[in-house]
């Protein structure tokens, strides 16, 4: 009971946290690009655009930071046995994240917000780049820690205490799962933020006919297309890498119950095939595609869930080692299919930009406005695929999720915290959504209604931002 509740709470708080994280990482980068352009061309419209999207960034960061605190605390609160066993390995990247990334990010964000007009343009520009670097470094440490749970490396088992202990920090940061998943997350962040920028620009072009927004739309598309294409390749390669260390995760994502020797077909759509239903009705299948996706070879073998289960029972003792197949199968497909839709949208936008008719295409602008929902669905599906696919392990092959909970925390207490978090997160989701929409729909010039700016460097300081 406490395990299920603790898992629900962690899943809800992480998914919620990760709605804001990729926007922060991606938008910090895009705003830095905009400001760099302004630094070079000195155009007041570029400055307004920088500040316009900067305000969206700041609204978003506020929630991203505080929900991240919940994550850090939960390891100790809900997963104390996990923290106790592997804290000497897993805690390291978190401490480094605080020291190397959070200080950088939060210090320079504060200086950037309050520094308009106070600092020289060059130093002020450097501040937003420092924020962008901070967000990317932060993601690196979190992904290194998470990848260690997917593929534990760089440790030995202490012969006396029987606990895993760190013996090679470089292995943690060269973990193949880390390298591929980190790039994947950075690309996902760029995709998310560029779709946010595209969506806002599309609304402005459609409803306000403000041609200034063609510029951010173009920037968004220039970032989006390479990011989404690369992300598909990297994601596919990540699947191959994880298949090596976590074959169960991949077999479940394909609902592959029995081992297939070669030319395995990829199921595009099926009915049934969940946990207790081994005979799904295949609606559409593509011959040989699964072998290619899972092993990079048309002759590749894809292990089946039944065979893996038997092998794991032999290796780790009795138990169910198969993750929820329904979640795996569909999260993988939702992620991949929606990514394809994003790619098509990006190509459409590129074509319109080339013909210089983007601002006139009502259909595109309408669809692009609403397409902002896609990256959030894709990101959530991606994390479900990664985390659900690791179950029943909290650290693959080393520690089961059930063994990681806090023995002294009762189900009652988790119910209370779960309700409180859900309630407060729901309230702030509404507040944040409301603010993002409101600020995304402002007139461009309204950006400067808030007296946080003073473009005149010789003037006295802007004092009251808040």
């Amino acid at each position: 009971m406490t395990e299920d509740l603790a898992r629900w709470q962690f899943a809800i708080t992480s998914i919620y946290h990760f709605l804001f994280v990729p926007v922060t990482i991606g938008l910090a980068f895009l705003v830095a690009l905009l400001q760099t352009t302004w630094y070079k061309n000195g155009d007041p419209v570029t400055l307004r655009l920088t500040r316009f999207f900067g305000s969206l960034l700041v609204i978003n960061v506020a929630i991203g930071v505080v929900t991240g605190l919940v994550q850090e605390f939960e390891f100790g609160m809900n997963w104390s046995n996990y923290s106790r066993e592997v804290g000497n390995i897993f805690g390291g990247p978190l401490a480094m994240e605080g020291l190397l990334a959070f200080f950088l990010e939060s210090t320079f964000l504060g200086v950037w917000i309050f520094g308009w007009g106070r600092l020289s343009k060059k130093v002020h520009l450097a501040c937003i780049w420092a924020v962008s670097a901070g967000t990317a470094i932060s993601a690196a440490f979190i992904m290194a820690a998470n990848s260690w749970m997917q593929n534990p490396v760089g440790y030995v088992i202490n012969p006396v205490t029987k606990q895993p202990q760190l013996n090679d920090i470089f292995a943690i940061f060269t973990n193949p799962v880390f390298l591929w998943s980190y790039v994947h997350v950075l690309l996902a962040s760029l995709i998310t933020a560029s779709l946010v920028m595209l969506s806002v620009s599309a609304w402005q072009l459609r409803r306000r006919q403000n041609a200034a927004f063609v510029r951010p739309a173009r920037l968004a598309v220039i970032v989006l297309i390479p990011a989404i294409i690369l992300s598909m390749f990297i994601g596919s390669e990540l699947g191959v890498v994880e298949g090596k260390y976590q074959p169960m995760k991949i077999a479940a994502a394909e609902a592959q119950w029995n081992t297939c020797d070669s030319h395995c077909s990829f199921s595009l759509f099926q009915v049934g095939g969940g946990r207790n239903d081994e005979t799904p009705t295949q609606i559409i299948e593509v011959p040989s595609l699964l072998s290619i996706l899972a092993t990079n070879s048309i002759n590749g073998e894809v292990q089946g869930l039944n065979q893996l289960q038997a092998q794991y029972v032999k290796e780790y003792g009795p138990g169910n080692y198969i993750p929820n197949v329904f979640i795996q199968y569909w999260s993988m497909r939702v992620m991949a299919y929606l990514a394809l839709a994003v790619l098509l949208l990006g190509l459409w936008a590129a074509w319109l930009l080339r013909r210089k008719t983007l601002e006139k295409s009502k259909a595109f602008l309408f669809i692009a406005t609403w397409a902002v929902a896609l990256p959030f669905l894709i990101n959530t599906a991606g994390w479900l695929l990664a985390e659900n696919g690791r179950q029943p392990w909290i650290v693959q092959g080393l520690m089961k999720t059930a063994a990681g909970v806090s023995p002294s925390v009762s189900a009652y207490e988790i119910w209370i915290s779960l309700c409180i978090f859900v309630l407060i997160f729901a309230v702030f989701a509404v507040v944040e959504g409301f603010l993002m929409v409101r600020f995304g729909r402002r007139e461009l010039d309204e950006t400067d209604d808030h007296p946080d700016t003073n473009d005149d460097e010789s003037a006295d300081m802007p004092a009251l931002v808040y």
């Binding site: 505080v66 605390f73 401490a95 209370i416 409180i420 400067d448 300081m461 004092a463």
Partner: protein, 349 residues
């Protein structure tokens, strides 16, 4: 000194840094609702900490993460023991953090009032709750042989813990008052200056009570620890200096008072980190909770290389934003299409 003790010391430094820096942010958050006569003054108060509060909160994150990495057993037991208290703490951190950014985003009195009180109450709860937690570490809690807490939520409300919470709350308010005195001008400045003297003398009494209780209750011997003496003397100096108008020194002495009060918790605890009232043998210590040497060595290298860099740019931000903050200056209408008609300004202190 063992590596474990070294990291205990590093962690104490992070807690001290947190209670000094974020301490004045809490104080400003608490006081801004009470010392301001109007909305303009409330804004001035909040904006004195505007550029720095977020970075100051990182000290808490790092202090926690250092315990996670360097003392996993301590982290596991402390965080699961304090479960519901930490939920309240997280809610306070969330509401307060969001309030900074969101209060001014909507021109609606109800919206503003909600976030104003969110900021005030959140700022008061955080030092209070962490103070209770520190007090509990020293007072001791029922912890069994397996290092698991065997009590319930109400068991966390020990008298000493509660008094410790009040102590940290009062000290944060003092930090906020002396900081505001340094950063404001005019009428508002005169009010907070007077207030910081009063809070200063209250702090002397509260902390005198605290060190006495901490010493007689939990320390062997009768001779007071130097840290305890410094805590009381520094606060007497702070209150006296605040009354004399030595604003900078009053702030500095308050910081010394905070540092030695936090230091009192940890010097009394050392070499333990969390005391068990079930049996002293079950207490968590530096030795039984520290990570293996390799982990501590890696962290030492990272900290020695990067912490000085962090300190350099943190100092730089305080230099950049060193001026006092005031309301809009008469006779200088904002110019240019990018500045607001009511653009408030800062003046040299």
């Amino acid at each position: 000194m063992t590596l474990g003790t070294f990291w205990f010391l590093i962690d104490v430094i992070f807690w001290v840094g947190f209670f000094i820096l974020e301490g004045f942010d809490f104080g400003v958050g608490i006081l801004h609702s009470f010392v301001s006569r109007n909305d303009e003054e409330r804004r001035i108060c909040i904006n004195t900490i505007g550029p720095v509060w977020d970075a100051n909160e990182v000290w808490l994150i790092v202090a926690g993460a250092v315990i996670f990495a360097a003392f996993p057993l301590w982290y596991a037991t402390m965080f699961s023991t304090l479960y519901l208290a930490l939920v309240v703490l997280l809610v306070a951190l969330i509401v307060r953090g969001v309030a900074f950014e969101y209060t001014r985003k909507i021109e609606d009195p109800r919206w503003r009032t909600s976030f104003k009180w969110g900021l005030t109450i959140g700022s008061a709860l955080i030092p209070l709750l962490i103070g209770v937690a520190f007090g509990d570490l020293l007072h001791g809690l029922p912890i069994n042989a397996n290092h698991q807490y065997t009590g319930n939520f109400f068991g966390l409300l020990t008298p000493f813990g509660l008094y410790s919470g009040v102590t940290m709350l009062v000290l944060s308010t003092l930090m906020g008052a002396t900081y505001l005195t340094l950063k404001t001008t005019g009428d508002l400045h005169d009010r907070v200056a007077k207030l910081s003297t009063q809070i200063g003398w209250v702090s002397v009494l509260v902390v005198w009570g605290f060190v006495t209780w901490a010493h007689l209750g939990f320390a062997p011997g009768f001779v007071p620890n130097p840290v305890e003496v410094v805590a009381v003397l520094a606060l007497i100096a702070a209150a006296w200096l605040a009354g004399n108008g030595s604003e900078g020194w009053a702030f500095a002495m308050s910081a010394v008072g905070v540092a030695s009060t936090v230091g009192t918790f940890f010097t009394q605890l050392y070499p333990k980190v969390m005391i068990s009232t079930t049996s002293r043998a079950y207490s968590i210590t530096i030795a039984n909770s520290a990570s293996p040497t390799y982990t501590l060595r890696v962290m030492t290298v990272v900290a020695l290389v990067f912490f000085p860099v962090v300190l350099v740019y943190l100092t730089w931000t305080y230099v950049v934003f060193r001026r006092r903050i005031t309301g809009p200056r008469l006779g200088t209408p904002a110019e240019g299409d990018l500045s607001s008609p009511t653009s408030p300004t800062a003046v040299e202190s």
